[in-house]
């Protein structure tokens, strides 16, 4: 352990070119208004690839809606396949942005100032994409609106006791809530863009969206009240959302699913994969928009610490599952754990344990945490590991339930994979567009960080 004094906070979170109020506006606004200081070539290449994948996603969805869920690898035993795993994975990532942003705000972690904005944007798109998957998985997607309570000629109502109904409401409330949280935090920055714009169109565009923000003490006072209260509300909402996703599984009677640990285990998993995705986006945004003065290696260091803590909790959750299966004494539960380690999906399970529990232990070393490349590589592995976890939860239990005559193995089809990878492209497409229109770093919160850190 080092006995050296920690550097002053301002030196940890900013580099000298980003330590003045004007420099922050310049760094963040120049790529948007003056089309300077960004890697436009890389952006266009990425945008081209993402657009291609988005087109593939549109083709996949059209083919799916035209021919039905038979294009997936689902069979009579494994009725939930990749779309459900993709859904859980995306909603986990979608959870994390608002969770990170609001929890760090409530914990007074001021360094969040330069990462919260794109974490929130990540939430919006990931949660929206997640919301598409259950609809795609429905045999008759055209009737998804039956989840809504509306007076209808059939005189029936939704079944409120069903976890799937909770899911629908939790996701839709969460997406709408996240849009508000993101937009309100953006208003003062839109005013900055309005005031910096030199041509008419951006001035009108950002001016209209800024709603006439004047930076008055009254504005800030009410804004702060609202934003902080929203953060307080966001935490229970996010926790409830992924708990409900956990209950989609846990409310059943299947071995490996019917566990009381599922809701908290899903919430931690969401935070874990979400932080990993934020690390990846942080590295890309930092590089693409030359934001090195505002996003330092220290940001990666602290995020790596959080991922390390989450990986330990994940490991503990897996241990608890195995222990509970043994302690429970139910034959199907014990079979299932044996199947996880030795059955048809064993290599996937071992990989998952490696990526989620073993590899992140490298974060104990400060040299790894302070190397951006190392943190990003491990974050990608964590994201892969978390996807494997989701698919394992679906596959293992359904492949190996109470009745041995029903045991089957799931073989993913081309369409299963195409939809997964093209959804990543669609996410990239939306994210790249957003990065060209809205500031990726919260300018007003970074200014405040500089002010407060230099007046302590």
């Amino acid at each position: 352990m080092s006995l050296q004094a920690e550097p002053p906070e301002i030196e940890r979170w900013t580099e000298p070119p980003g330590r003045s109020y004007l420099a922050i506006s310049e760094l963040v606004a120049a790529p948007l208004l003056e089309r300077r200081q960004w890697r436009w070539r890389a952006w266009w290449i990425a945008f081209g690839i993402a657009s291609g994948l988005t087109l593939i996603m549109a083709i996949c969805m059209s083919w799916l809606f035209a021919t039905g869920v038979g294009i997936f690898g689902n069979n009579t035993t494994i009725v939930w396949g990749l779309p459900i795993a993709d859904y859980v994975w995306w909603i986990g990532i979608g959870n994390a942005g608002t969770l990170i942003s609001s929890m760090l705000l409530l914990m007074r972690q001021r360094w969040r100032a330069s990462i919260n904005r794109f974490a929130e944007a990540m939430t919006l798109f990931a949660a929206t994409i997640a919301g598409l998957f259950p609809i795609m998985h429905l045999g008759r997607p055209e009737y998804f609106y039956w989840l809504l309570p509306y007076p209808n000629t059939m005189v029936v109502w939704p079944q409120w006791r069903s976890a799937l109904i909770w899911d629908f409401w939790a996701i839709s409330s969460y997406i709408l809530f996240s849009i508000l949280f993101w937009y309100v935090g953006l208003i003062p920055d839109l005013a900055t863009l309005r005031d910096r714009a030199k041509t008419a169109f951006p001035r009108y565009f950002y001016g209209a969206l800024a709603l006439g923000w004047r930076g008055s003490a009254r504005h800030w006072y009410f804004y702060e009240h609202y934003h902080l209260t929203m953060a307080c509300l966001a935490v229970p909402l996010v926790v409830s959302l992924h708990s409900v996703v956990g209950m989609d599984f846990a409310a059943s009677l299947m071995p490996g699913w019917q566990e009381s640990i599922f809701p908290p285990y899903f919430v931690v998993g969401a935070m874990y994969s979400g932080f990993a995705m934020v690390v990846l986006l942080t590295a890309l945004v930092r590089w693409g928009f030359n934001l090195q003065p505002l996003i330092t290696a220290e940001h990666f260091n602290v995020m790596a610490k959080i991922m390390l803590a989450a990986s330990i909790i994940m490991g503990l959750s897996y241990l608890t599952e195995w222990f509970a299966a043994w302690y429970h004494g139910e034959r199907a539960e014990r079979w299932l754990v044996g199947f996880e380690f030795t059955g048809g999906y064993a290599p996937v399970y071992w990989c998952m344990l490696l990526f989620n529990c073993i590899v992140p232990q490298l974060f104990w070393f400060v040299r790894i945490r302070c190397s951006i490349v190392a943190v990003v590589v491990i974050a990608i592995l964590i994201n892969v590991g978390m996807w494997l976890e989701r698919i394992e939860i679906v596959w293992n239990t359904l492949s190996h339930d109470f009745l041995p005559s029903m045991w089957r193995i799931f073989i993913p089809t081309f369409w299963d994979w195409a939809l997964l990878f093209s959804s990543l492209g669609f996410f990239g497409f939306l994210y790249l567009l957003l990065a060209r229109i809205f500031p990726m770093v919260s300018m007003h919160e970074t200014r405040r960080l500089i002010y407060e850190e230099s007046h302590q």
Binding site: S20, Y21, L22, S25, P149, V155, V156, W157, P158, W160, R161, I165, W166, W169, A170, S173, Y174, L176, F177, L180, F181, V184, I187, P188, A191, T192, R194, D195, R196, G207, A208, L211, G212, W213, R214, G215, S216, A217, R218, H219, W220, Y221, F222, Y223, H225, Y226, T229, M230, L233, P236, L237, S240, L241, V244, H444, E445, R447, R448, Y451, H455
Partner: protein
């Protein structure tokens, strides 16, 4: 028509200090304009008392109550299903829907309250006409005082602001 004395300060700390001293010195601070939220500034210029949270609470509870009423009406009154003798009003299972939409309802009510309190959206305001006001959203810190009508008093106010560190002073009519 109000007359306003607008002074620019080099930083948030100087602005905050002057705003706090203005009232004891006999001036009436009207507002302040900053590029980020400065703690204590709103109170110093006499803006306090927010009903945003009250509105959020009332809105959230009202929407949650409506959601529960919908569940109760549909599951108990309009379409009761006896499933193994389970209670029709299954309140533990009914909680999530009111909770989720209640939080969203609170967020919307809070936004409406925020707009009502702060006068947004209002795309035009007389203060935008002040030269250099566009820097308020970047790096300028302004304090607005109620301008004394008397010429001698006005001069005294200008001197006081300069002494407090004001970089520039404007007199505007709104």
């Amino acid at each position: 028509m109000t007359e306003v004395l607008l002074a620019e300060f080099p930083g948030a700390a100087a602005l905050l200090e002057t705003a706090r001293k203005a009232r004891p010195a006999g001036y009436r601070p009207l507002d302040a304009f900053t590029p980020f939220a400065v703690e204590g500034l709103a109170e110093a210029v006499g803006a306090g008392g927010s009903h945003v949270r009250v509105a959020m609470f009332i809105g959230g509870v009202a929407i949650a109550a409506m959601a529960y009423a919908t569940e109760y009406f549909s599951a108990v009154i309009d379409y009761p299903i006896n499933s193994g003798g389970r209670p029709l009003n299954a309140w533990p299972a009914f909680m999530l829907f009111p909770f989720a939409v209640g939080i969203f309802g609170a967020a919307v009510s809070g936004l409406i309250a925020l707009f009502m309190h702060s006068g947004l959206p209002g795309l035009h305001h007389a203060i935008f006409a002040v030269p250099g006001f566009e820097r308020v959203s970047q790096d300028a810190f302004l304090l607005a005082l109620d301008s004394p009508r008397d010429e001698a008093e006005l001069q005294r106010a200008r001197d006081w602001l300069r002494e407090a560190g004001a970089l520039a002073i404007w007199e505007i009519k709104t």
